[in-house]
């Protein structure tokens, strides 16, 4: 080929055999692409192509992948950076690796863009190209810096690359960890601040946002406030819940607003005063059951800048749960944040909402306690379509802006509807695995779903009940 190719593939750390196999897979598009194997820091010396793609792992392109990539750029002129789904060789078969769209918070917890990331050369020039002072993490650093400067980061939801081995190791483990930490710190500093807690060689990192100031958070807990049989003994879920909040929470500026039914046991009220003290606000609910209106009443009785909706059949596991939720809810444009919930037996109950083909379900439902899920999704902070109101934090102003929880939905789907409203008004919703609680789901209410509840949600949101942006899998957890 003579002249400048449209797309330059740069293979990083490939041996000769792997380079040959990759080059052979470009065969159908040789008039549009050129392949070079070299160190990432040398890229600027070899290409005058309009687009540059650094390939991290040995593998091959799907037929006409280059044409598909160039066609995508041609039809999306504002896209400066692009990544694709891929597949992983499993013997002679392949396992698809589906990815969410570009999700800025997720990217600082995980290098999930994968092996085929394509940049406009003009974007690379604008960000100063590869930083070779971060050996072993140059390309992750480049992804994080370039995505902040890109007008749009595009995603092709088709497996255009088949990975046959893991990424080439471009430095020793200690160097990679140190470089990755520096890259993550740079990303956090450029996007509002945060902390790098741990760097993983598997590409999954524990980075966290930090709380800005110490705003008052109002925990709103609707409850009947009665004793019942808990595992064969007389107990009260509400009291167990507030005791765990008071004993375990490290965040101190909160109040607890309990919306109690008129039938509440006076002994429960006495104990609430004793446990919670002057942080307790009581509101009385004397009408027929309506979870949404009970929450709304609680929020109207609250004084906090943030409201944390909490079911009475939950107990706190992680001491820093409020900080984890609050730090995400303080992000610019944030509308809501939600927690990782476990059933009493330790299996996962909720790791975000999943709306797929008109069905709403919990990500991770019934997965084993230590499962990490597709693309480690249960264990990373990330953007989601929705979260359960069993434990969700949001700015009070957003709660009012969306009209609170819909009282057309007294028992079910009120949180799905709430999340849809939050998203409809353009706010982001986040999930954090660093706020962990037990949720003894529906131990204190009737969980029957009524036809009218289904009608309300599906009539309102119709097409919105299919949202694969952040969880692109047809299943809510890893298939058995």
């Amino acid at each position: 080929m003579t002249g400048s190719p449209a797309l330059q593939y740069i293979l990083t750390g490939f041996d000769d055999a792997a380079s040959s196999r990759f080059s052979a897979s470009v065969a159908g598009d040789t008039d549009k692409a050129r392949v070079t194997s070299m160190s990432v820091s040398q890229w600027g010396t070899v290409t005058d192509a309009e687009f540059v793609c650094f390939v991290k792992s040995p593998g091959t392109l799907a037929p006409h992948a280059t044409s598909a990539i160039l066609a995508y750029f041609a039809s999306h002129p504002d896209v400066d950076m692009l990544f694709t789904d891929e597949s992983k060789a499993d013997g002679r078969a392949s396992t698809p690796v589906l990815k969410p769209i570009y999700a800025p918070e997720r990217l600082r917890t995980q290098d999930y863009l994968g092996d085929l990331v394509v940049y406009r050369s003009s974007l690379l020039d604008a960000v100063g190209g590869v930083d070779d002072s971060l050996p072993g993490a140059e390309l992750y650093d480049l992804e994080m810096r370039a995505s902040l400067a890109a007008r749009v980061v595009g995603h092709i939801d088709a497996p255009l690359f088949r990975r046959t081995a893991g990424p080439a190791r471009l430095a020793d483990d200690a160097t990679i960890k140190a470089s990755t930490r520096s890259a993550l710190e740079r990303r956090l500093a450029a996007t509002g601040g945060g902390e790098v807690i741990a760097v993983g060689l598997d590409g999954v990192h524990d980075t966290r946002r930090v709380v800005d100031g110490a705003p008052l958070v109002s925990l709103v807990i609707p409850s009947r406030g009665v004793f019942s049989d808990i595992n064969g003994e007389r107990g009260c879920y509400l009291l167990d819940c507030v005791r765990s909040v008071m004993e375990k929470s490290t965040y101190s500026n909160f109040e607890i607003v309990v919306v109690l039914d008129s039938v509440a046991d006076p002994a429960v009220i006495d104990e609430l005063h004793r446990v919670v003290g002057d942080r307790l606000v009581l509101a009385e609910w004397s009408k027929p059951f309506n979870f949404s209106d009970k929450i709304n009443l609680g929020v109207l009785n609250a004084s906090g800048e943030y409201v944390l909706m909490l079911n009475d059949d939950t107990t706190v596991i992680s001491p820093g749960w409020i900080e984890a939720l609050l730090a995400l809810a303080q992000r610019p444009g944030a509308g809501m944040s939600g927690a990782l919930l476990f059933f009493g037996d330790g299996s996962i109950q909720h790791a975000g909402h999943h709306y797929f083909e008109d069905d709403a379900s919990h990500i991770g439902l019934d997965a084993a306690h230590d499962e990490v899920g597709p693309l480690s999704g249960y264990r990373v902070e990330r953007e989601v379509s929705g979260v359960t109101a069993a434990c969700a934090l949001m700015p009070v102003r957003v709660f009012h802006e969306v009209g609170g929880l819909s009282n057309l939905l007294p028992g079910n789907f009120n949180d799905v509807d709430l999340c849809m409203k939050v998203g409809f008004l353009g706010y982001d919703i986040y999930f954090t695995p660093h706020a962990q609680l037990y949720h003894y789901e529906s131990k204190t209410r009737d969980a029957s779903v009524h036809g009218f509840e289904v009608d309300v949600v599906w009539t309102r949101w119709g097409p919105g009940m299919h949202d694969p942006r952040f969880w692109p899998y047809p299943h809510n957890r890893t298939p058995d």
Binding site: H400, G403, S406, G464
Partner: protein
């Protein structure tokens, strides 16, 4: 909790939340109807919504409620 004025204010605020909820719900319905249907059909849907009892009742209720809320809100701040 037994202050009648406070109870009245809470009642008004609850109704306001419900009305905002209904408006967003209708906006959402309109948005996906608009996305999925042609112009004439969409205008017909809008006309039907605007002539519905729910829409007209909402228009009647939301004006006085906002006025009451403003009055009560001003009183409670005194």
């Amino acid at each position: 909790m037994t202050d009648p004025q406070r109870e009245e204010l809470l009642d008004v605020q609850m109704r306001q939340l419900a009305l905002v909820d209904r408006i967003i719900g209708l906006e959402a319905e309109v948005a996906h109807l608009k996305a999925g249907k042609g112009g004439a059909e969409f205008r017909s849907e809008i006309k039907a919504i605007k002539s519905s009892a729910t829409w007209r009742a909402g228009r009647i209720i939301i004006g006085p409620l906002a006025a009451v809320s403003r009055v009560l809100g001003a009183k409670s701040k005194k």
